[in-house]
C-alpha cells in the first residue's frame, strides 16, 4: 500500500507503527504529548497511546536521556525527542558517558535500545541554536550509532529500524525537509538494512557524498551537471556511524573524484573522516583530492544570511569543477 507523505508524516507514521508493534516503545521529550512536538512529528500519539507511553517531560535534556537510560534498563525502548539540535548539549554527558558506554561497561548485559531523535540542520529562518549539525561529535563517540534520513520513504522505515535496533541510535532528521517534498511511501515494501548507504543516482565522472539535508542538494547538483554533460554519482550515506563506505570506495574507484557535502563545520566534520578513508582505500584511483563543501568554521550565522552560508548548488558545482579540473 502506498501513501503520499511528507517526511514529517512519514516519521509520524513510522513512530506509530513502532509503538503498535512493541508495547515497550515509549516517546519522551518536551512538548511531544498534547502538542505533538513543535514539528508535530509525534502528533496524535499521546491521544492514542496514553500519557504513560508518550511523556511530556520536564524541561531538562540531561534528565530526558538519563531517565531513558533507567527505562531502558527496565526493558523499555525510549525514543527521546530533542526539540532542536542546539539543545542536545545539556544531555551530552548522559549520551557519551552513559548511553554510549553502558553496554560495554556491563559486558553486554545491559543493551541501551534508545533512539535520540534530533531535528538538525539549517535553512528554516530560525534564531541561534536551532540550525546546528552536531553529527560528527556523535559519530566520534564509540558505542553510539548515528543515522540521518533524507526523504519520506527512508524516514518511514529508518525510524522503525532504529527503534527496533538494540543499540543506541542518534537519529538525525533534516528539519528543513519535514514539510517539503512529498513521496509515495510503500508501507509494505521491504526496506534496505538500516546501516547501509545507498546510491541515489548513478554517474561516472565524480562521486558526490551527502546525507540528510544535502542529499537533495546533491541530487539537484547532479541534475544541473548532467545538463553540462557531466555524469555525477550521488550516494546518500544514510549511516554516519558505522559508515558504510564499500559502495563509496567502489564508486570512487570508478570515478576517480569525490566531493563530500554537509552543513556542519568543515574541520572535523564527517567530510574529514570520509576524505581520510577514501584517500586511504582509493589512493591510486584518485585523480584529485577529495574535496569538501561544508559549513564554514564559524558559528551558524544569523538567519538572514543562512542561505549564503549553507552549501548550495553553486558551491557544490564549483567543487565539482575544481575536482574535475585538477
Amino acid at each position: 500500500m502506498t501513501t503520499t507523505m511528507t517526511m514529517a508524516k512519514a516519521l509520524n507514521a513510522g513512530l506509530r507503527a513502532a509503538m503498535e508493534a512493541d508495547p515497550k516503545v515509549l516517546m519522551m521529550g518536551e512538548d511531544v504529548g498534547k502538542l505533538g512536538g513543535v514539528f508535530r512529528i509525534t502528533d496524535g500519539l499521546q491521544k492514542d497511546f496514553g500519557e504513560d507511553r508518550v511523556i511530556d517531560t520536564p524541561l531538562a535534556e540531561s534528565a530526558i536521556l538519563g531517565t531513558a537510560v533507567g527505562l531502558a534498563m527496565r526493558g523499555y525502548r525510549p525514543v527521546c525527542e530533542i526539540q532542536f539540535d542546539g539543545f542536545v548539549y545539556p544531555a551530552y554527558d548522559q549520551i557519551v558517558s552513559q548511553v554510549a558506554k553502558i553496554h560495554f561497561r556491563s559486558r553486554g548485559r545491559m543493551p541501551m535500545p534508545i533512539v535520540i531523535r534530533i531535528p538538525f540542520g539549517g535553512g528554516i529562518g530560525a534564531v541561534e541554536h536551532h540550525s546546528e549539525s552536531p553529527e560528527a561529535q556523535f559519530a566520534h563517540t564509540a558505542g553510539l550509532k548515528v543515522v540521518a534520513c533524507s526523504h519520506p520513504t527512508d524516514a518511514y522505515w529508518m525510524i522503525q529500524q532504529a527503534i527496533a535496533a538494540d543499540d543506541p541510535v542518534v537519529f538525525l532528521e533534516p528539519k528543513r525537509q519535514y514539510h517539503g517534498e512529498k513521496a509515495e511511501v510503500d508501507t509494505e515494501a521491504t526496506p534496505p538494512p538500516l546501516f547501509t548507504s545507498r546510491t541515489v543516482r548513478e554517474g561516472s565522472d565524480l562521486t558526490l557524498l551527502a546525507y540528510g539535508p544535502t542529499v537533495r542538494l546533491c541530487r539537484d547538483a547532479a541534475l544541473a551537471a548532467s545538463e553540462e554533460g557531466r555524469s555525477l554519482e550521488v550516494i546518500d550515506l544514510r549511516t554516519l556511524s558505522p559508515l558504510d563506505l564499500e559502495p563509496v570506495f567502489a564508486s570512487v574507484r570508478r570515478t576517480g573524484h569525490a566531493v563530500v557535502v554537509h552543513e556542519a563545520a568543515r574541520s572535523l566534520g564527517m567530510g574529514s573522516e570520509i576524505a581520510a578513508r577514501i584517500q586511504q582505500e582509493c589512493f591510486y584511483a584518485l585523480e584529485a583530492p577529495v574535496l569538501r563543501v561544508a559549513g564554514f568554521d564559524t558559528p551558524y550565522p544569523p538567519s538572514r544570511i543562512e542561505e549564503e552560508y549553507l552549501p548550495d548548488l553553486d558551491r557544490v558545482l564549483d567543487a565539482v569543477d575544481r575536482s574535475l579540473a585538477y
Binding site: 511530556d56 524541561l59 544569523p302 538567519s303 553553486d314
Partner: protein, 369 residues
C-alpha cells in the same frame, strides 16, 4: 480574599492593597511613569507581532501579559546593576534603555544581539534555557571580587538579576546557579516569570509545589508576587536587590503571571489550552489595573492617556520603518567575529570564499548558475 502567599499591592480592580512586608516605594508620578512603560512595552510587542506576520521578522516571542513583571522588576534596578535575560524580556530591555529596534534585528535574523551589555546593564538574549542563570551568578561573583557589594555606598553597591521561566526551573543549570549563589552568597536575584506554560507544557510538568518554595531547599528566601501587579513586583524586586547589594545573598522571586499569547509566533496554543483560562487572566490584566488606579485615584485624564497613546503610535512607526530599513550583514562578516585574534586558518577560509564570490563578479554576466 487576598492570597497570603502572594504579594499584591494593586488589585486587578485598581485598588491599592497593604502587605505586611512590602510597600511600593514610589509616588503617583512614579506610577504614571510605570504606566507609560507598560503601554509602550505592550506596543513594542504588538508591533513586533505584526511585523512578524508581514514577514519582516523570522519569529517573535511575545511578552503579552508579562508587562508588569518585566517593568516592575526592570525599574527596580539601579544603573550599576546588571540583568541577564532570556529571549522574552523586551520590557526589561526597555527599562535598561535598549533600543527596541535591536531586539527586532535579532528576531529578524540580522544579528544575534547588537546592544552593548556593559553600557546598558542588560545582557544578550540567551536562548538555551537556563544557561544565563549561571552567567548571572558568575557576574555576581565578579561584583564581590570587585568590592562593590556591601560597601554601604548606594551608588556603588551593585547586584545582578537573572530572568528565567517556569520551565527553566527544571534545568540542571538553574539549580546549580541556586547552589552557587547560596554557597558564595552571591548578590543575585533570581527572577522567575511563572507564566504557567513552557510552550505546551503546563506548570505541573515542572513542579508539584509552588516554585518560590524551591529556594528554601537551597537555603535562601523565596517569595511569590502577583506578576501582573507592577507595584508588587517593583517592591519585591527592590527589596531583593537591596538584600543582594548589601551582601545578604540571593533571593528567588516568582512572579505569578500568565502567557497571554502564543509561545512564539510559530506556536499554536489552541492545540493545548483552553480559552477559558485566557478569559480568567484577562481580568487580571497588568496594564488595565494601573489604568483604573490612575483614573480613579490619581485623576489622570484624557490628556495623559492620549499623550502616551501618541507616543506609542510614534514608536510603532519608528519600529516599522526601522525594521524594514535594516540591512542584512555580509556573508564575509561571519568570519570576522569568531575570535578576537583571528587565526590564519580562518582567514584563509574567508579569503577563499571571498575569491569564490568574486569569481561570480568576474563572470561576464555576473550571475550564478
Amino acid at each position: 480574599m487576598a492570597d497570603p502567599d502572594l504579594v499584591q499591592l494593586l488589585t486587578p480592580e485598581g485598588e491599592r492593597a497593604e502587605h505586611p512586608d512590602y510597600a511600593f516605594a514610589g509616588d503617583d508620578d512614579t506610577i504614571r511613569s510605570l504606566y507609560r512603560d507598560l503601554v509602550l512595552t505592550r506596543r513594542i510587542d504588538t508591533e513586533a507581532t505584526a511585523l512578524q506576520r508581514h514577514g519582516e521578522l523570522g519569529i517573535w516571542a511575545s511578552l503579552l501579559g508579562q508587562e508588569a513583571a518585566q517593568i516592575g522588576s526592570g525599574r527596580a534596578l539601579r544603573r550599576q546593576d546588571h540583568a541577564f535575560p532570556t529571549y522574552r524580556e523586551h520590557g526589561v530591555a526597555w527599562t535598561r534603555g535598549v533600543d527596541p529596534l535591536s531586539l527586532l534585528s535579532l528576531f529578524r535574523g540580522v544579528d544575534q544581539g547588537s546592544w552593548d551589555p556593559e553600557a546598558t546593564g542588560f545582557g544578550l538574549y540567551t536562548i538555551v534555557i537556563g544557561a544565563q542563570t549561571l552567567h548571572a551568578t558568575g557576574y555576581a561573583m565578579g561584583l564581590q571580587r570587585d568590592g562593590v557589594v556591601g560597601t554601604d555606598d548606594p551608588d556603588r553597591d551593585a547586584a545582578v538579576i537573572a530572568y528565567f521561566g517556569d520551565g527553566a526551573t527544571s534545568q540542571g543549570d538553574v539549580n546549580e546557579a541556586f547552589i552557587w549563589a547560596s554557597v558564595f552568597n552571591a548578590p543575585v536575584v533570581f527572577f522567575c516569570q511563572n507564566n504557567q506554560w513552557a510552550i505546551s507544557e503546563p506548570i505541573d510538568r515542572q513542579t508539584r509545589i509552588p516554585l518560590y518554595q524551591r529556594a528554601s531547599g537551597f537555603g535562601f528566601p523565596g517569595v511569590r508576587v502577583d506578576g501582573n501587579d507592577v507595584l508588587a513586583v517593583h517592591a519585591a524586586t527592590q527589596a531583593a536587590l537591596q538584600r543582594a547589594r548589601e551582601g545578604s545573598g540571593p533571593t528567588l522571586i516568582e512572579a505569578f503571571t500568565y502567557r497571554m499569547g502564543a509561545h512564539t509566533t510559530t506556536d499554536d496554543p489552541t492545540r493545548y489550552r483552553l480559552s477559558a483560562d485566557l478569559e480568567h487572566w484577562k481580568l487580571k490584566d497588568p496594564v488595565e489595573r494601573v489604568h483604573a488606579y490612575l483614573t480613579r485615584h490619581v485623576g489622570a485624564g484624557e490628556d495623559f492617556f492620549s499623550e502616551i497613546a501618541e507616543e506609542a503610535d510614534a514608536l510603532a512607526v519608528r519600529l516599522r520603518e526601522g525594521t524594514r530599513a535594516m540591512a542584512d550583514p555580509s556573508i564575509l562578516s561571519v568570519f570576522d567575529q569568531v575570535y578576537v585574534e583571528e587565526s590564519a586558518e580562518l582567514a584563509q577560509q574567508r579569503d577563499e570564499h571571498a575569491a569564490y564570490l568574486d569569481s561570480f563578479e568576474d563572470a561576464t554576466d555576473g550571475a550564478r548558475r
